[in-house]
């Protein structure tokens, strides 16, 4: 296990090096890109960029500086705003995005798992049909439509929740629910099919023949097996939630990283786009890493070690 973790950390670093190198050279290749001198850039910023990236040096030297800064966790200055660095922007935007993202992930697990379990246990009964109906909606209706519907009912009609903006828990509810809709529905369906498969296994019959209560059979013997595919889905799901939040943050006027990212694209603020991309890559690789470790703890058949 230890060896596996060390291996994984090395491959994570490798992935990040490749991603950041690729972004660097791609950016270099774009005409009028961030590292070529542009007239429109104010002198102050140009000077700072100059300091940072050594545009007059040969390419390999520029690359070395760029990677060196990354290694120190320094993503460089903004291309557009002289008082801001990319780190500042991430520091401001990410906690906001992460809060909604975390709420959405939590919500999708708390709702999706039990819904899937009940659905499988009561296959073809009304409980199952209800869960399947709502999960079909959650999967097929795009989030901007859901957002609009929620805004209309909870914000305008019943006036119980704010439609947009940021300022306390009340503002997080609608965006989090909207963001959670798809993953909740997906987890419910995944849990259901995985649970149906597990419930027909012999070891469930064994568990019942030992006198174990039905509740324990489901929540211990069945769920610990059925949850494995759900855990596998969690890595990409966290990715989907954080990229999905671009749309949600725009719709609900939330000052998250997604909002800054989109603004950066409008502004052609290249350093912010690059920095945020690398940050996302880092985030994803870490999320997948944690999920893999979690998986190994849940499934003893996976040892991540060479055969002795």
């Amino acid at each position: 296990m230890k060896k596996y973790i060390i291996n994984r950390i090395f491959s994570m670093i490798l992935v990040l090096v490749v991603v950041s190198s690729l972004t660097f050279f791609l950016a270099k290749a774009i005409p009028g890109g961030p590292f070529t001198k542009e007239k429109k850039v104010p002198d102050v910023i140009l000077q700072r960029l100059e300091e940072k990236y050594h545009f007059d040096d040969p390419l390999w030297k520029q690359y070395a500086f760029y990677m060196g800064n990354l290694m120190k966790g320094d993503l460089g200055p903004s291309f557009r705003y002289d008082a801001l660095t990319v780190n500042d922007i991430i520091r401001k935007g990410f906690p906001v995005s992460a809060t909604i993202g975390f709420l959405a992930v939590l919500l999708s697990i708390i709702l999706g798992l039990p819904a899937g379990i009940i659905s499988a246990y009561r296959q073809n009964f009304w409980q199952d049909n209800t869960v399947m109906f709502f999960s079909l909606i959650g999967i097929s209706v795009p989030s901007f439509i859901l957002a609009t519907v929620f805004m209309y009912f909870f914000g305008l009609k019943f006036k119980i929740l704010p439609i947009a903006g940021w300022g306390g828990f009340r503002y997080m509810i609608l965006p989090a629910i909207t963001l959670a809709a798809y993953p909740t529905a997906y987890i419910a369906r995944l849990t259901r099919s995985s649970m149906l498969d597990v419930l027909s296994q012999d070891y469930i019959k064994t568990a019942r023949s030992k006198g174990i209560s039905e509740f324990r059979v489901i929540t211990m013997h069945a769920l610990k097996n059925a949850i494995l595919p759900v855990v596998t889905y969690m890595g990409p799901m966290i990715a989907a939630i954080f990229t999905g939040s671009f749309i949600i943050e725009r719709l609900f006027f939330i000052p998250g990283l997604g909002k800054y990212y989109v603004t950066a694209i409008y502004d052609r603020d290249y350093t912010v786009i690059l920095g945020t991309t690398i940050f996302y890559a880092f985030f994803l690789v870490t999320a997948n890493f944690i999920v893999d470790i979690l998986y190994a703890f849940l499934d003893p058949r996976i040892t991540y070690e060479e055969k002795k």
Partner: protein, 333 residues
């Protein structure tokens, strides 16, 4: 004579499917006495597993349903017991060993956990005591270095080892009855013999009665003192091992005897099967269910179900050949 520990009367279990009602078990009766081992033998699909699961009240409902009958464990009718009472019976008073040890243990729990779980459920003991008991049980089923094995997971053990673990779980609470449903069928021939030896060994060491379910008459030999031969949801012949092996009287039992797998010189299993197929349990024939495959079938066999004839004490045969009006035939062995 001692009183039976389990008395099954007129047990009828059906499955409601899209095609219709599958009459899996059609009113069978038998008794199990304390400490004895009985064999429940018959071709695949004749209702052996359903009988075992009905006793445990583990028939999946839907689609299954125990329609009528009674199953008395001592003085308690299991078919009228509450689910809570049944949970106290399962694994404690009656336990089960299933056919495929590769899939019968939960892959994500350690061997120790799966043994201790039953102990902690049915006995008032601490975790530490349960662990000691689990090691003891593994030792009883002849698993080497049990202290180590309790920390292993099913995928780390061979099929034979896993079936031993299943046996350890089954005997853990000193049950009155152990139902072993084809416990050797999916194992290699040499391992099969080992598991049968183990059951034999446990039978002498414990007070439990054993119901050995199998499609192979040879598996029953030497272990069971009584044999029930089942066909199409009915019992065809019942008797002591001597009666069944030395003087079988039902044409279906004759067929089963001939079908016993033999190992020939090339070490390959040879199987002569009884020609034809068992009847469709959606609409079983009204006469003898074996009539269409029977070399001795008479007219009455197609019209009326044969009753039990008991020519010798304890030897019951459901066949019209036993009727005094039937022509004398030589048994075909």
């Amino acid at each position: 004579m001692t009183k039976p520990i389990l008395k099954v009367e007129n047990l009828t279990t059906q499955f409601l499917t899209y095609a219709g009602i599958v009459q899996a078990v059609r009113g069978i009766s038998f008794e199990i006495y304390p400490g004895e081992a009985i064999g429940l033998v018959g071709e695949s699909g004749c209702g052996k597993s359903v009988t075992g699961l009905s006793i445990m009240r583990l028939i999946p409902d839907p689609p299954g349903k125990i329609v009528s009958g009674s199953v008395y464990l001592d003085r308690k009718n299991l078919l009228e017991s509450s689910e809570k009472e049944m949970r106290n019976v399962r694994g404690n008073e009656i336990s089960m060993i299933f056919q495929d040890p590769m899939t019968s243990l939960n892959p994500v729990f350690s061997i120790g956990y799966q043994i201790m779980e039953t102990l902690l459920l049915h006995q008032e003991i601490t975790k530490k005591q349960a662990k000691e008991k689990a090691i003891e049980l593994l030792d009883m089923v002849h698993i080497k270095s049990p202290e180590e094995v309790i920390n292993r997971y099913p995928h780390q053990l061979s099929g034979g080892m896993r079936q031993r673990v299943m046996a350890a779980i089954a005997i853990s609470c000193d049950p009155k009855i152990i139902i072993a449903d084809e416990p050797t069928t999916s194992l290699d021939v040499t391992i099969q013999a080992q598991i049968l030896n183990l059951l034999n060994d446990l039978k002498t060491k414990l007070n439990s009665s054993i119901v050995l379910i199998t499609h192979n008459l040879a598996v029953v030999a030497g272990l069971c003192s009584r044999v029930l031969v089942m066909y199409a949801g009915l019992i065809m012949e019942e008797g002591t091992d001597m009666q069944i092996y030395n003087k079988p009287m039902h044409p279906y039992t004759w067929g089963l005897m001939k079908a016993v797998p033999k190992i020939n010189e090339e070490e390959k299993e040879r199987l002569t099967t009884i020609p034809g197929l068992p009847p469709d349990l959606l609409s079983p024939p009204k006469g003898c269910p074996f009539a269409l495959r029977c070399d001795y079938a008479m007219q009455i066999c197609f019209q009326k179900k044969p009753p039990f004839f008991e020519p010798q004490k304890g030897h019951k045969i459901a066949c019209w050949l036993m009727d005094s009006r039937a022509p004398r035939t030589k048994r075909s062995m």
